[in-house]
Symmetry: C2
Amino acid sequence: VYEVKDLKKTYQIGDVKTDALRGVNLTINEGEFTAIAGPSGSGKSTLLHLIGGLDKPSSGEIYLNGKRIDQLDKKDGAAVRLSTLGFVFQAYNLIPVLTALENAAFVLELQGVSKKDREAKALAALKTLEMDELKDRRPNQLSGGQQQRVAVARALAANPKVILADEPTANLDSETGQRLIHYMKKLNQEQGVTFVFSTHDPRLLEHVSRIVRIEDGKVTGEEQPKPM
Amino acid sequence: VYEVKDLKKTYQIGDVKTDALRGVNLTINEGEFTAIAGPSGSGKSTLLHLIGGLDKPSSGEIYLNGKRIDQLDKKDGAAVRLSTLGFVFQAYNLIPVLTALENAAFVLELQGVSKKDREAKALAALKTLEMDELKDRRPNQLSGGQQQRVAVARALAANPKVILADEPTANLDSETGQRLIHYMKKLNQEQGVTFVFSTHDPRLLEHVSRIVRIEDGKVTGEEQPKPM
Ligand SMILES: Nc1ncnc2c1ncn2[C@@H]1O[C@H](COP(=O)(O)OP(=O)(O)OP(=O)(O)O)[C@@H](O)[C@H]1O
Ligand SMILES: Nc1ncnc2c1ncn2[C@@H]1O[C@H](COP(=O)(O)OP(=O)(O)OP(=O)(O)O)[C@@H](O)[C@H]1O
Ligand SMILES: [Mg+2]
Ligand SMILES: [Mg+2]
């Protein structure tokens, strides 16, 4: 699914350069349930944003299903993302004026799905996350963990083949988090959806088949806690 | 420190009422290191915001150091908060145009502390959270966990006697989270600072002296995992 070669990302602030990623090499195969783990500031979100086509690297190459995606223009990059990927943001990025249902349906709307169909699919995704009763709430009328679940529902609603999730359980209590993890694992095992998480959550790390360790912008090693 | 009597909070959306808190009774004594724990949506943030004077209850009474604070007007409420409380928000609420240092110094600025003094105190708070090197960054130039630490630094910088922290370790990896927990515990044991956390983090729950369980807007019980 993903081939990442010598990926680098440097931010420039005034005359100070920050090397967020210093040469990451990574392969993600179809059907993986893999976590990127590492300290705060180590580059996890940066890596996910780059492979998600949401930002351009400073150098290096990213291939998604054999196609090079790191140098696509805005329009082509958006088309690839829309058809293949689901993204859950660390800060959710919900639209304040839309309801939970409309936020969850947002990707489907961009894909041109009819209102009737997209609201049915969005409602089903919200239902899985126990958020269907709150479908008419705006984000500022929801708790932190409820907002997080709407962000996850949005990524799931369009049934993408690959889901990139940045800290998807950070604001969830143990039980709600466990139910989410079990649901994602089910999607992975039954429908072959590929998952790449960035996470600190030990309860999620218990369930992944592969953990890629990252520190200071470089991959430092990996573990396979469970066979696939 | 806190006396909370039959606290209720109902939100009205159109003609639908949501009872976020249904009659909470709680006492917090000076020097406690206490967690409010419960499922997503159970009322933890609502409770913290009410005792933090950031919102008014629908009914019930809140006493802070013997003084009733739930019906204060905006100006008096702000004065109490400023002199006594530190607050860490679940969504951080950092100011996008200010640097990490300026954000951390914000409460001190509201208190009228001189620029020289407040920047020294804010820098010391950032240093404790290993964020001093990033003091000139704006929030959107920081990782999720780095933003969270600036939010904590802001609450610590003014040396309040009571700190209310809503999910302060949600976006921190194990080690960074542990160092923050140890620092807060040190402040508690050496300076008698009272801490009330809302948290799901089992690593933080391990360290608190008292856990108040909340479910569906009501306190359902409590535990004392460690003697004080
Ligand atoms: N402005 C609002 N209007 C309507 N309902 C609200 C509003 N704000 C919060 N709620 C509801 O009040 C309840 C309690 O919310 P609160 O934010 O206190 O939960 P929480 O325990 O902090 O959850 P989490 O662990 O997810 O952060 C939730 O069911 C939430 O949907
Ligand atoms: N716009 C930016 N300008 C400068 N530096 C940045 C910018 N965005 C991120 N960084 C830096 O790049 C590094 C990696 O950030 P990233 O968000 O990928 O970390 P992370 O592993 O996701 O951290 P966390 O666990 O705290 O979410 C950090 O040191 C961060 O300060
Ligand atoms: Mg991150
Ligand atoms: Mg909350």
